[in-house]
Every structure is written in structure tokens, then in C-alpha cells.
């Protein structure tokens, strides 16, 4: 996993509540057996005016000029800002894969759906929960300043605005540790394989019908 320490980038405003994983990456793209290549189809039904299918020549497709990520001023954005319950719906990890592959490293929202939130951390993508008034403020700043960029410092759990104003955020200690060091969960858990074996021994003695 790509480590995440600090990141500075332009904000893109996705001003909607309940952005679901079907919108993030529509089902027809889940047929891939790979982890990569989902970025071009991120928000496919919102970004394009035609119906997208895997393997299409993207240069021939008609983009929706009204959709925020198609606007020139957000072309280089790497931080997505949204409203409440971002990532609701299915457990598809293709959603964070698509967001990361598109070029985003951070998502700021009022709240996230549980499974999506957990999936982000496994893919070097940092989801940050902020109070509604802070999110409103950041939306305003993004709309009124072209190329509005902020710095996210995970180590110090701080967002630094161009005005030097700092916004602190919460992050779980274990997830922060894994993200900063780019650690693979499986490798960490494997270090406890003796504990797992010991657990199994007692557990199956007690619950012998599960054997």
C-alpha cells in the first residue's frame, strides 16, 4: 500500500449527500478481475452522457459538461469534498480503487458509510470526517477560489488552509499507523498466528459442533 504522510492538493466539490457506491463505480465495471483500471469509470453515469461499458474508447465518449469533475478548474484535484453518508451502499472495494486510481488521496465529508470508510484505509486513501459547518466553509472556499488547495498532515492530524488556519481531525490510531507506514494488514495479523491457533484450540473444544 502507498504510504500516506502529508498531502497537498486542489479540492473538488461534490455537493451531494448519500453518494452511493453504485454512483462511484457502476456495476458493469465490477466484472473485472483486476484491482486497477477503474479510475476512467469513476462516477461513470454522472461524468458521461452515454452508457459506459468496460473496454470502451473513452476519447469517443461524450462528457457531461455540468458534472463537477469535468470542469477545467478541478482537473488537477486530488482531494474530494462531499456531504453526509458518502460511500453508502455496497461493500465493493472497487469504489475506493476507482477514487484512488482517478487521482484522489483524501475525501472530506460530514460522514461516511462504515464499509466504504474501512475500505479506504486499505488502499492508501484517507477519509476524513469533519463537522457540517467546517464542510460548508470548505465548500465556500473551494467555490470562491480557483485552484483552492489545502495540505493534509496525517501525522499531526491537521488540515492546513492557505490562510494558515488549521483544522484538526480525528483518526483511529491503528489505521493511522498502517497508513503512514504503508503497512499490509495481513502481514501484521500473520505475526499473531500463534494466538490464532491457540484461540482455535479452545474455541473448537467448546464449540465442537463447528468442527
Amino acid at each position: 500500500m502507498k504510504p500516506f504522510v502529508t498531502h497537498t492538493g486542489i479540492l473538488a466539490p461534490l455537493d451531494r449527500a448519500n453518494v452511493d457506491t453504485d454512483a462511484i463505480i457502476p456495476k458493469q465495471f465490477l466484472k473485472s478481475i483486476k484491482k486497477t483500471g477503474f479510475g476512467p469509470h469513476l462516477f461513470d453515469e454522472w461524468r458521461y452522457l452515454d452508457h459506459g461499458e468496460p473496454g470502451m474508447d473513452l476519447t469517443q465518449r461524450k462528457k457531461n459538461p455540468d458534472f463537477v469533475l469535468n470542469q477545467d478548474r478541478y482537473e488537477k484535484a486530488t482531494i474530494l469534498i462531499a456531504r453526509e453518508n458518502f460511500g453508502c451502499g455496497s461493500s465493493r472495494e472497487h469504489a475506493p480503487w476507482a477514487i484512488e486510481d482517478f487521482g484522489f488521496r483524501v475525501i472530506l465529508a460530514t460522514s461516511f458509510a462504515d464499509i466504504f470508510f474501512s475500505n479506504c484505509f486499505k488502499n492508501g486513501l484517507l477519509p476524513i470526517v469533519l463537522p457540517a459547518e467546517t464542510i460548508d466553509h470548505l465548500f465556500d472556499l473551494t467555490y470562491s477560489n480557483k485552484g483552492y488547495a489545502i495540505t493534509v498532515d496525517l501525522e499531526n492530524q491537521s488540515i492546513i488552509l492557505p490562510s494558515k488556519e488549521k483544522i484538526s481531525f480525528q483518526v483511529d490510531t491503528f489505521r493511522k499507523h498502517c497508513l503512514i507506514n504503508g503497512l499490509d494488514d495481513i502481514g501484521l495479523t500473520m505475526q499473531h498466528s500463534e494466538s490464532i491457533k491457540a484461540f482455535e484450540k479452545t474455541y473448537y473444544q467448546k464449540n465442537s459442533w463447528l468442527l
Partner: protein, 467 residues
């Protein structure tokens, strides 16, 4: 001893280790399907890791499979590769799979319980958010992402934090024609799709206790639509008699021993929940969603909302966007909404009881002229066989429905079953998101009997007025 909730009992009995509030939790059952597993198996291969406990896995292809004649195979080459990849992975890693042409094949959340593979007291995971379904058996069941699928395959464990606990108490008796689906939608209408975020929900109360296992599965299935990763119901005699004599369930002495433990799987009297929500069962009406989120729902006597009456600007915009996408006017009574297609199926409502409920409405009737397509997609090959034994297939076919092979089908439209842009569907599935059933498609979530009634009348009707 301090009284405990069911969730606490299930969680605590599976702790391998704890480190500052981060737990390593042992997983008993791992259900696997073709869409969210290939990258996990690839990860195992790259790192030369075996599957920790092959016996814990039950795999089945369901999302991509065709629901029409299967003797021809899968025509979509990309879907075909994904299903074949699951076949190969199961063979390579030595895992039990019910392949596409096995009569036990079906939707992963239907076949687990049907096979007795889902048992009380278990921790159950699957790379699918509707894994919450299995909580109906007094199990801790939740959806996980592909990285976690790989983690469980490799280590038999999951890294978890404790959820908060929510009791959803449904008091009183349900009125005739009111189903588990209506309870679930009424709850989501009340607390919203993020109302359960961070919580494990336990459904309690008289209305829940009187439900069959199929209905309890429907409710737990929809817990994720309320934002809760896990939903559960305490074990009782209904649970135990459902499990007895299933292919994978314990037999004889083992069953008797298990039963003693299973009967302890309920929240203790005086156990404290972080939150309690109460619904009055006899006030719940047949529910119909009007928008693009399951929380956008009203009773059958209700109307689409008027965004001008909403003061919160963000909510007003959500209502306007949803009405525009759904092609509906504000203040429109939902019983005036006509539909083009009917879908009876999905992990929410494709079990035998659901099919009986719909068939009961359709007996001797025909679908309305404006219905372009009406599909019944049984949840598994065995549900299909049982329905055929009872003659339900004939009722559906005589009414004008198509009787299909089992799978996820038009719930998420990964196979050929889908809505065309602008088409409106009465669907027994779980999500009415934009494009969920096909790009530009418009989904209204309802119970099986409400979907059947809409097929006969061509628009939504109050099921209570029909009987």
C-alpha cells in the same frame, strides 16, 4: 455478571486479541462470490499464502449468472471470465463451491441459511454488504471489502473495532398484508440511511418474535440500508427448528449440544443498548419508496414530498434531484404511480415465503397491459424446485410473469436483466439508487405482495384493500 447484549456476547466470544480498542476477531464462516473475490485470491497467490481454514468457506457465483437458459453458458465474455475465475480459485484452494449448474446454486445470502451453513453464534462475513442477512440466526454477520476478504482467507480473522449497539424494538402486532419488508422500510424512513452507521442493530419486540426465519432475514438484510453493518435477531424455537436437518447443520448429539449454547444467544434482561428506537407494528403501512435512497419512502396512502416545504437547503436539493431523476411531480399520491416492469427476487425477497406471498396475490389474475416485463427470480435452485413442487411457477407464468433461474439478477443488473433508461420498476430488492437496476432506470422498493399487486393493476395499490 454484567448483563450483555446479543452483539456483545457474539463479539466477545470471538476475540483472539485486543490492542487498545482494536480487536482481532475470529471468523467462523466465510461466504464467497465471484465479484469481490478474484483480487483477494490473486493477493494470496502473489504472496504464496494458503487459505487458513478451507472448511470455513462456501462459494457460489450469483451476481453475474444468467437467469435464462443456462445450457448455453454465459454469453457476456467478461462475466464468463469472472465466474470461471471463481471456479478455478475454488479448485486451486480446495474450497466448497456450488457452481452455476448445481441445483444448490443461488444468491449467497439465500444458500448459506438454506444449507445450514449459517448457524447461531457464528461470526459470518462475505464480500457483500447484505451479509447482515445472516444475523437473523443470532449470528454476527457483516459485509466486508475485498482486502478484508483476502485477510480472512489468509488469517481466519478480521481486524475490527466494537460497534455501538442499537435496539430496534417493534412492538405490537402487524396488520394483515404488512411484511418484514415494510418494517425495514418504515425503520429506514424513520432513522435515515445513515441512522445506523457505527451501530450493530438488534431487532426485538413482539412483531419480530412472530416472524418466520425468512422474514427475519429480510429485516436483517436491510439493516445495511439503515447504515448498520450488522443486524441481528435473538435465537428462539423458530431459529432452531429452521436449522434442524439442513445439510451442513450439526446432527444428533452435536445438535443437542449446540442447542444448549444457542439458547443463550439473546440480550440479557437489563442489558444496555447505546440507543433504542421503537416502532409500533400495528401503525406500519405497506411501504413504497418514491426516490433514489431507501429513506425516501412513504406509506401507500402517502404522496411524493414537496421540496418547497423543506427548509434545509441540502435536503431540499436532494428531494428535487430525486424527483427529477424519478420523473415524478411533488405531492403525487404514490398509488397513482404506474410501473413498466416488475422484479420479484434479490437477497431481500426471493425465498420460498416471498414467492408464496406474491403468488397468493396473483392466483387467477393477469398482469396489466402496461407491464412490459415481470420477472420472478428465485433465490436458489432449491427455492425454485420447492416453488415448482407447490405449483407457484404455474401461477406466475399464467399471470404473465417470466419464471427464471436463480441469481442476483435485476437487483443490481450485472447480468442481462435490467431496466432501460426511463423505465419504472416495482422491485422487491433493497436499493433504489440512481442507475442501480440499469442506467436511467427508476426503482420503487416494495414487498413481494405489493410488487405482485402492482403487476395486476399496473400501478401501486394498497395490498390491504385487496384481501
Amino acid at each position: 455478571m454484567q448483563p450483555k447484549t446479543l452483539y456483545e456476547k457474539l463479539f466477545e466470544s470471538h476475540i483472539v486479541r485486543e490492542d487498545a480498542g482494536t480487536y482481532l476477531i475470529y471468523i467462523d464462516r466465510h461466504l464467497v462470490h465471484e465479484v469481490t473475490s478474484p483480487q483477494a485470491f490473486e493477493g494470496l497467490r502473489i504472496n504464496h499464502r494458503p487459505v487458513w481454514r478451507n472448511k470455513s468457506v462456501l462459494a457460489v457465483p450469483d451476481h453475474n449468472v444468467p437467469t435464462t437458459d443456462r445450457s448455453l453458458g454465459i454469453s457476456d465474455p467478461i462475466s464468463k471470465i469472472q465466474v470461471e475465475t471463481l471456479d478455478e480459485n475454488c479448485k486451486h484452494f480446495g474450497l466448497t463451491q456450488f457452481p452455476m449448474n448445481d441445483n444448490r446454486q443461488g444468491i449467497v445470502h439465500v444458500i448459506g441459511p438454506e444449507q445450514g451453513s449459517t448457524l447461531p453464534g457464528m461470526t459470518i462475513v462475505c464480500g457483500d454488504s447484505h451479509t447482515s442477512t445472516h444475523g437473523a440466526f443470532g449470528a454476527l454477520a457483516m459485509g466486508i471489502g475485498t482486502s478484508e476478504v483476502e485477510h480472512v482467507l489468509a488469517t481466519q480473522c478480521l481486524i475490527l473495532k466494537k460497534f455501538k449497539t442499537m435496539e430496534v424494538r417493534v412492538e405490537g402486532k402487524l396488520n394483515k398484508g404488512i411484511t418484514a419488508k415494510d418494517i425495514a422500510l418504515a425503520l429506514i424512513g424513520k432513522i435515515g440511511t445513515a441512522g445506523g452507521t457505527g451501530y450493530a442493530i438488534e431487532f426485538t419486540g413482539e412483531s419480530i418474535r412472530t416472524l418466520s426465519m425468512e422474514s427475519r432475514m429480510t429485516i436483517c438484510n436491510m439493516a445495511i440500508e439503515a447504515g448498520a453493518r450488522a443486524g441481528m435477531v435473538a435465537v428462539d424455537e423458530v431459529t432452531i427448528s429452521y436449522i434442524e436437518n439442513r445439510p451442513f447443520s450439526p446432527k444428533g448429539e452435536a445438535f443437542e449440544k449446540a442447542k444448549v449454547y444457542w439458547k443463550t444467544l439473546h440480550s440479557d434482561k437489563d442489558a444496555k443498548f447505546d440507543k433504542t428506537i421503537t416502532l409500533n407494528g400495528n401503525e406500519i403501512l405497506p411501504q413504497v419508496t418514491w426516490g433514489t435512497s431507501p429513506e425516501m419512502v412513504v406509506g401507500i396512502d402517502g404522496m411524493t414530498p414537496d421540496p418547497r416545504k423543506e427548509d434545509d437547503l441540502s435536503k431540499r436539493k436532494s428531494i428535487e434531484d430525486a424527483l427529477a431523476y424519478m420523473g415524478l411531480e411533488p405531492n403525487l399520491p404514490v398509488n397513482q404511480i404506474s410501473v413498466d416492469k416488475i422484479f420479484i427476487g434479490s437477497c431481500t425477497n426471493s425465498r420460498i415465503e416471498d414467492l408464496r406471498e406474491a403468488a397468493n396475490v396473483l392466483k387467477g389474475k393477469k398482469i396489466a397491459k402496461n407491464i412490459k416485463l415481470a420477472l420472478v427470480v428465485p433465490g436458489s435452485g432449491l427455492v425454485k424446485l420447492q416453488a415448482e413442487k407447490e405449483g407457484l411457477d404455474k401461477i406466475f407464468i399464467d399471470a404473465g410473469f417470466e419464471w427464471r433461474e436463480p441469481g442476483c439478477s435485476m437487483c443490481l443488473a450485472m447480468n442481462a436483466d435490467r431496466l432501460e433508461s426511463g423505465e419504472r420498476c416495482a422491485s422487491t430488492s433493497n436499493r433504489n439508487f440512481e442507475g442501480r437496476q440499469g442506467q436511467g432506470g427508476r426503482t420503487h422498493l416494495v414487498s413481494p405482495s405489493m410488487a405482485a399487486a402492482a403487476s395486476v393493476h399496473g400501478h401501486f395499490v394498497d395490498i390491504r384493500a385487496l384481501s
